[in-house]
Point group: C2
Chain length 156, copies 2
DNA sequence: AATGAAAGACTTCCTTC
DNA sequence: GAAGGAAGTCTTTCATT
């Protein structure tokens, strides 16, 4: 990923679009003190260069009945390439797993999972996660409250 | 948060808009087999009812030089209302903290932090986090790899 | 690189079914 | 609720500076 040079106008564009991707190009141009066409050209360049990876609608999980937000730490028996690859593949298939990171330290994975209720979590853990080859240990922690969420990346 | 009744068309709308919020209303209408006006009316209703909370541009942290992604667990000495409130307020002021959850168990907080380098993480931990009143313990774990990230909520 | 103007496309509202 | 049509606005491109 080439680190593109971003000037202060690009930074302001990114800051605004993270907060509100529905800004029209006219509004955005005004916010960053540019006329519409150079503003659009910059946005397109940021998209083309992968600085902006995509645009998404943030959906409230509770409105879908997804009331349980859990972080799950998974430890593997060993970290062979095959075990890691098969674990990551299995995780890719599970829609409840919204985020998954390979972590330093005990070479764990950290998952963030959203499910309707605790029963669904149990089912996920017992029927699916624990059956993935090489999984040694699974620990769940519940998020009780979202203090801060989807905060925009600091763009300076 | 009133759990609005979502039919299968709403579900399809949400599914598409999570994947690509830049779909035009015309494209979206076609995808969900509706004509543009009822499609727009549904999207507006989903926004009004808070099912869609906002639209955001996802920005690649590496392109901003933000190469270190860390999860930080914070344990407090005690969980008095004042301590919790002041901690949450302090976290709200720190732009490097993208997400923060109050967790079950040892009544910890779990933070996700993005910074340019390890030095910045040390500075954040020592100069800021550890100085917040009531903070007893801070543990950092580095994300080595993003296996899955910003996956859309499963909408059924 | 930025500006300004023009063509085409999209959004949005209103009426009808 | 959904469809169709009309008006206004925005996007996008291009010639100009």
């Amino acid at each position: 990923m080439a680190t593109r040079k971003l000037d202060s106008i690009d930074a302001r564009i990114l800051s605004h679009l993270q907060r509100n991707a529905k800004l029209t190009n006219l509004e955005l141009a005004e916010l960053v003190n540019l006329s519409p066409s150079p503003c659009l050209a910059r946005v397109k360049a940021l998209e083309r260069d992968g600085v902006i990876s995509r645009y998404t609608a943030l959906v409230n999980p509770a409105s879908l009945g997804l009331n349980v937000n859990v972080f799950i730490r998974v430890r593997l028996e060993k970290q062979s390439r095959e075990i890691l690859a098969s674990f990551e593949h299995a995780i890719g298939l599970r829609e409840e797993v919204l985020d998954c990171y390979l972590m330093s330290g005990e070479a764990d994975y950290l998952l963030r999972v959203v499910v309707p209720d605790v029963a669904s979590l149990e089912k996920l853990t017992i029927d699916h996660l624990s059956r993935i080859p090489g999984v040694a240990n699974i620990q769940s922690s519940f998020a009780l409250k979202e203090v801060k969420i989807h905060s925009p990346l600091p763009v300076r």
